[in-house]
Assembly symmetry: C2
Homo-oligomer: 471 residues x 2
């Protein structure tokens, strides 16, 4: 056995003398602790006397005594007066190895819906906004933020939502969230506390927005949607007093709620003393005309308007908002506090800066132009290669729905997948895979264009049509 | 009435012709919509014919027609064939004004516990880490992150926690959270789903960590703590199968869990098939010796180790972690997804960079030295000015507890507050203000030193002692 090395019970201990190495005591503690955790020092084993181990390791006895004491205090060793130091009885652990959980399929064309072009995230501008935030924020801002969020951000957002979305809101009505799922999770908790037990949801609809209801005590009730948006008659029939809708651009059908449905929805909400959660997920992007204003502006007392930067900037930022009716502020803030005290303040500071500098709206204008071109290309290519296609939905957002005729949407998507083309069958967006009549036995698929640049769309759709023609 | 201005029903509409102004159509829509929202255009009012309003405003008729159509689609107006356009019936809204909710007390000395010195947040280093993240991350990272968190960060953290906290963990065992409250909220949901109905909590303890249990279906059961940490006999007696503890440095008492209590705790956990949530909130800061390793390393199958950067960097970052036993990974990830799909990825990238560059540990070394000096000063000042004081707890963290003798802790804190000195009475940390025997009628207060630089501590305590002597 070489100097400065010990080998008792088959255990090898060595010193690390590299620059910045931890103290000898810490190294010895770590070596002994790990040995117990791995079962290399079995329960009941007697440790060498401190003088003996110190001699073997070439360190002072004090180092060994300190390390033993530490491990006695931590519960790894026990010290028995007059009889030395023993290893406590502990379950042994395998040295668990890292198991990669990365999905390894690589797509030639992924028509993912609901994701913006991440390669166009304004890295430089976001960094500049972050720099400005970090350089100028008073230190007090680095504390837990207020649950409602940064006042400067809420003020800027209230003005933006009033101007761009026709919302009725002042800073005090806003709560900053980590995004739309977070907002819905908070509202689910608040609604449950107020005795709500179910909520109407769009069918088909955006399934990740259903996850907050799992185990929440609120049952989601699927309500059909068509080219006029949510079927309000069915909502009334359901007996639910709350609904989660995307009236400006229904996902995935792509319809806008019609004026008569809007009127019926507002009437329903007043009649049942109800609550509307308005998911305004991609309203920044409409290409043929101005987007319809949010219904929140029509009935702010009964509508919670939720939105985020996940489509306009990037999901990675985890920044969103809720505009709350007066009567829901306290329950929503109570629910928020129970999940997490606040949203990352430095991100809020950066977004407030990006909004007030006008950078955010400049970015939106650039993106709107880009996505409009992609959509036009996608519609043209679909029409060219699938003569019988029906493209559904308004010219807006980051996706369209295409009905390719009779057949199985899932089989079609599977055949595309075999050629590394990813399309999204409509049944993916149906709760419990219960398909509405109009999509039964239809090859109806959702095609997103946020992830595919314009110049690749034609080729992607041509390739897809080759597959289709072989079915 | 001047040109380019209209005044019907007392409503004034004007064009904004400043650079970058919105289109005339959007301006008109916005003006009309706001007028309805504010009740300035009452329900049933007939709008001027489009040609008339266009003449008044000096714009083309097309602008007015488009704006009317937009507001019909949105539900603000109704168009009756042959009879013109009317305002729909809507509730009127006050123009709600911003009500400031900022607490306006200014403290001369705020001995806040559990907050680091925010003026020492490493702004420059954090910006550099963010820059590096934004410059080098592949675009795909700007998507929703995986619920478990960024692999690079989990890998770096697992190594750090193994080295510094004696944890048994690989990247796969870690989940990144928004902080410790978020982690506890996620675990509460997961535990409820598994049939747990109560959880032992430290009494006294850190009250904000109780909020996740509100309405969760889990009842928190207060378990007494003393100088050996949590009373495990009382935990056994409670019948709870889960416990939330801070064994490395109990808040607020400041004790470390003794080896015999640790052994009893582990035995209990195995016997009841239980779960221990280990709140490792400030273990980076111990000044007299190495901190005790986390108990997670002793029994990783039954311990969830939770921690965050809220004490080591700043709460504003909202970054934390959980180390999960194998059997709790799926329930915890399900619960996480239901609350929010992921933690801000850009922050995760920056923290991964800050960890791997060694910046984080350098920062910790600087802070440890600084806080050690403050604590020493605080203990010395207390001993000088309050000769009968008992300072409780180990030399660690960002606070101490001082027992100043018989009396009311709340009255003492109130008298200090009248002099703009903020101290924290122990009853603040007791669930339902139910004071344990050893603190009954004691002027026991928590004093934090994260927010007060060393050179101001002596003066603050002297001022406090003047108040005390006048009581």
């Amino acid at each position: 056995m070489s100097e400065n090395q010990s080998n008792f019970s088959g255990l090898k201990l060595e010193w690390d003398r590299s620059p910045g190495h931890p103290s000898l005591i810490r190294q010895l503690e770590h070596g002994l602790r790990t040995a117990v955790q791995r079962g290399q020092l079995p329960a009941g084993a007697r440790l060498p006397a401190s003088r003996v181990l110190a001699d073997q390791l070439g360190c002072s006895r004090w180092v060994v005594v300190q390390a033993y004491e530490q491990l006695v205090a931590e519960g790894y060793f026990a010290s028995v007066t007059g009889a030395g130091t023993y290893v406590q009885s502990l379950p042994a652990h395998d040295e668990r190895r890292h198991r990669s959980s990365i999905e390894n399929i690589s797509w030639r064309y992924d028509f993912a819906a609901g994701i913006p072009d991440l390669s166009l995230f304004p890295r430089r501008e976001w960094l500049a906004a972050t720099r400005s935030a970090l350089n100028t924020a008073p230190s007090a801002e680095f504390d837990y933020g207020t649950p409602a969020g940064l006042l400067a951000l809420r003020t800027n957002l209230a003005a933006y939502l009033g101007r761009v979305r026709g919302a009725v809101a002042v800073a005090d009505d806003l709560v900053i969230t980590n995004g739309v799922v977070h907002a819905v999770a908070v509202m689910a908790r608040a609604m449950r506390a107020r005795g709500f037990d179910r909520i109407g949801v769009e069918h088909p609809g955006w399934i990740p927005l259903r996850t907050p209801f799992d185990g929440s005590g609120l049952t989601p009730i699927p309500i059909p949607v068509d080219s006029e948006g949510l079927d309000v008659t069915e909502l009334i029939r359901s007996g639910a007093r709350a609904v989660l809708i995307s009236p400006a651009h229904q996902f995935p059908v792509g319809s806008v709620m019609s004026p008569r449905r809007r009127a019926a929805l507002l009437e329903w909400a007043d009649a049942v003393d109800g609550l509307i959660i308005e998911d305004d997920y991609d309203a920044e992007f409409r290409y043929d005309r101005n987007p319809l204003a949010a219904i929140q502006g029509l009935l702010p007392e009964r509508v919670v308007l939720v939105g985020s930067v996940s489509k306009s900037l990037a999901p990675a930022l985890r920044l969103g908002w809720m505009v709350l009716p007066e009567s829901w502020k306290t329950p929503a803030l109570d629910a928020l506090r129970a999940v997490d005290p606040s949203v990352a303040v430095i991100s809020q500071l950066a977004f407030a800066e990006y909004l007030s500098s006008g950078g955010f709206e400049r970015h939106l204008r650039r993106m709107r132009k880009d996505y409009a071109g992609r959509r036009q290309q996608l519609v043209a290519s679909m029409t060219e290669h699938f003569p019988n296609v029906t493209v559904q939905g308004i010219s807006a957002g980051l996706h369209l729905m295409a009905d390719l005729g009779p057949g199985s949407d899932i089989a079609f998507a599977a055949q595309a997948a075999a050629q590394q083309i990813r399309v999204y069958p409509v049944s993916r967006y149906c709760l419990n895979r219960d398909i509405p009549d109009q999509y039964m036995n239809r090859r109806a698929v959702v095609l997103g264009y946020g992830g595919i640049p314009q110049h690749r769309i034609a080729e992607g759709i041509k390739t897809l049509s080759n597959i289709a023609s072989t079915i």
